[in-house]
């Protein structure tokens, strides 16, 4: 068992060094390999297949609410990027510039898209003429580039995969409805499929997207008490439409500007899966998103009938994503590997089990072992996976709730910020100055003004002036 132990010991404990624990998992679960290009990561099969499942689940939810997929160029001419002032200020410092095509210098620089509002505006200005052409609810799955100085796998990288939805509407109301609708699609997906509970809310002006009128966000709490912005949805009003001249002729025969939204979710969410559910043995994947849901590990596999019994169990589990590990490694090594990779269920089956017409089903999240009759293993595995999925959500919710604090005095707020990693709920007057002071003195940023507002006090936690809203504050990735 020496080798098996080594595999497990190679991960840093999360309590000892959370950042190193994260990096260890990402590498040892073979989610990611570093590339020779600074800040660009390689998604290996174990990592990419999680993204494939996310795409599949989320895309079905998009299509159910009328989203159509498209593909736009990866390049944006500099003049197009420059058209909306706030937007270019937000993105220009972190884009990659293409200056040469083959051996020739380009007459105009092209940036590799950091996001595609400008390209979609350009498209919509070409194809939208009348109210009959509205709404357009387009989305693309693609990669984008942001030249970040500090990078971490999934959480922040120079290139990353995402989807970006861009819609145009005849009225402001319809745009606002779509903005909220897509935020809800994200939140429901994260809760139901990834077992990650989300706080839904609106960003403060300081934290909103470059060029947006309003940005909405879903915020999750990681195991270490830090927050992760997990998806955003923006309402642009008609700001971009005016900059790009995207107009339509309405029913009343007057020419109007369209109202626009965009919304995105990226591979960053895989970082959330790791940091919400993982433990010191490695990754723990929620059953609904796990590329492999069940690992069947034969015990004493050289004995007669064992591999056949394992294959028969796999056959019976046809409704699930199942792998039999019949490699020549020891069972202990295989257990450690299955745990590291976060495969939700392990089924152990050896000569004694076969004799008893049973197998041992072991849950990855809590280690619970159940002897299950081979006759009903398909039904029982389904039940255990469902239970594990809901337990994981409840556990994540309980952890978040236990790490969500309230503060009504400035001293109490600062003390909580210093000593209690988690969300801190506190009232705010709405002034940028207070937001900046909170960042400066308590080291927290505003995560969002939640849709579910509460009134903890009448006063801003920072300046004591009348409060406008409850805000979730936290340290963020």
């Amino acid at each position: 068992m020496g080798k098996d132990k080594k595999l497990v010991e190679a991960i840093t404990s999360m309590d000892e060094d959370f950042a190193q624990w994260y990096t260890d998992i990402v590498k040892k679960a073979e989610l990611v390999e570093y590339s020779g290009i600074k800040g660009c990561m390689i998604l290996r099969p174990a990592g990419y297949s999680i993204w494939e499942n996310i795409q599949k689940e989320l895309d079905a939810r998009f299509k159910a609410v009328g989203v159509e997929n498209v593909y736009l160029p990866m390049f944006i001419p500099e003049s197009l990027l420059n058209k909306e002032k706030d937007h270019v200020e937000g993105f220009a410092p972190e884009v990659a510039w293409v200056t040469h095509g083959g051996t020739e210098e380009l007459t105009e620089r092209l940036c590799v898209r950091p996001t595609s509002e400008t390209l979609f505006c350009d498209l919509y200005s070409r194809i939208v003429e009348s109210y009959r052409d509205l709404p357009k609810v387009y989305n693309q799955w693609c990669s984008v580039v942001r030249w970040e100085k500090t990078t971490r796998p999934f959480l922040r990288s120079a290139e990353f995969l995402w989807q970006e939805g861009h819609t145009v509407h005849a009225t402001a109301e319809e745009a606002e409805e779509r903005t909220i609708q897509m935020l809800n699609v994200y939140a429901d997906f994260c809760e139901e499929v990834l077992a990650i509970p989300m706080i839904k809310g609106r960003k403060t002006d300081k934290e909103k997207f470059a060029g947006a009128e309003a940005t909405y966000t879903i915020e999750a709490l990681m195991h270490d008490g830090k927050a992760l912005q997990s998806g955003t949805s923006h309402n642009f009003g008609d700001g971009f439409a005016k900059a790009f001249d995207v107009t339509f002729t309405d029913r009343d025969n007057t020419v109007k500007y369209v109202h626009q939204t965009s919304w995105g979710l990226s591979t960053r969410i895989i970082g959330a899966i790791i940091m919400v559910h993982g433990d010191d043995s490695g990754l723990v994947l929620p059953p609904r998103i796990a590329p492999v849901q069940v690992a069947i590990i034969p015990i004493a596999q050289k004995k007669e009938g064992v591999l056949e019994a394992a294959a028969a169990v796999k056959e019976k589990l046809g409704a699930f994503r199942v792998k039999v590990d019949d490699s020549d490694k020891s069972p202990g090594w295989k257990f450690a590997e299955q745990e590291m990779r976060g495969i939700p269920l392990r089924i152990e089956i050896g000569p004694k089990d076969i004799e008893a017409n049973q197998a041992i089903v072991c849950r990855r999240d809590n280690g619970e072992k159940t002897a299950v009759s081979l006759d009903e293993i398909d039904v029982r595995v389904g039940e255990i996976l469902e239970k594990m999925q809901s337990d994981m959500l409840e556990r994540a919710r309980a952890h978040r709730d236990a790490h969500t604090y309230e503060a009504v005095t400035w001293d109490g707020f600062k003390e909580a910020a210093d000593t209690k990693p988690g969300f801190i709920k506190a009232m705010w007057c709405g002034d940028l100055d207070c937001e900046l002071k909170i960042k400066e003195e308590a080291g927290l940023t505003s995560r969002c003004m939640p849709f579910k507002q509460e009134k903890l006090s009448d006063r801003c936690i920072c300046c004591g002036k009348p409060a406008k809203s409850l805000v979730y504050w936290g340290k963020a990735y």
Copy 2:
């Protein structure tokens, strides 16, 4: 009907000007919109959804033969691209170079991937150590950039979408087997799903991929008699492995170079679908790939019960991809639109049909109309779609065979090249000089040396020296 007629008249006839007919369809079927960036196209929902279906079908076939998906960076450092001599010579003249990240000049230029052999080599050199790690059968779905001077939607563009598979193996035999296996996956997919028959064969040295030992290809014949290279599969031997030092320790404990393959199919294939199946009324999509398989068009839809009957038919056709067009356009306009977009079946249902408990089913490919009882419309639609799919393949095969010629004399060859658009089969000695002379004097390139070799004569069609192989010659897109 004036407006309806205009929509149809807006397409150039294919016999009059095939290139303009193609461009008209691409635009009027709303497959593509031009972008502000030269040579970069926008895939609109009608175009992108075809690609989504191609991805879905092909990816399932990949996974059935053990392919795993990954994602590698879109950038290649110049030094990495330079490692394999033939490869860099082939691609350097047509890559886009990134020179700046944000406001800073990069210390080393990065090219946007034109293809990713170099990146996969770099990855495999990091993760392959032992024979236990082999084979690796990875694929990625992504976009690539080749700075082409002349571009046409789908056929040749500066940026395009594709999949690129890259594999490494312990032996030369296994690499060769995989190369052929993936070519067969492509050919089967094209025949069974896209209804396009393919000639499978090997490229001459002149036409092979930069850096490959052998390139295999599938070649299709378009309606105008020109050929389209529709997918390629390359065997690299250990050439790249040596350049990138990709080695493994074999069972006998010696260190060996891996053997490598790559294979790709791109959005170019959508051009083939258009040019093989389209007609003067627009696009004709094979049922298995069509995003919408059935358009239900209510006749006199304001009359009582018509829209309800249309909805009931849709309900009954739940196994298919169906849309009801209940917009306020005239039926004639809707017919023209359905034809332009290539939707395989149109179902017309009006008050008289409802009275007779029937609907009219009209095939897009041959205009055949059938009155079908509403009681069995689900079964009949399934049958008609299947029949249409196989008829389309047979029609495409008959067209190709009728435009495939044989030549055994140089004069006969040149005459055929001048007067008979299509494939010309002729013997070849294997010398580059003859290949160049054929290009120069007959205007044809070698499409492939087909797997199904025949012996039309003992002599090279060009020089008269002993022939080595039968070659398909043609004009190519």
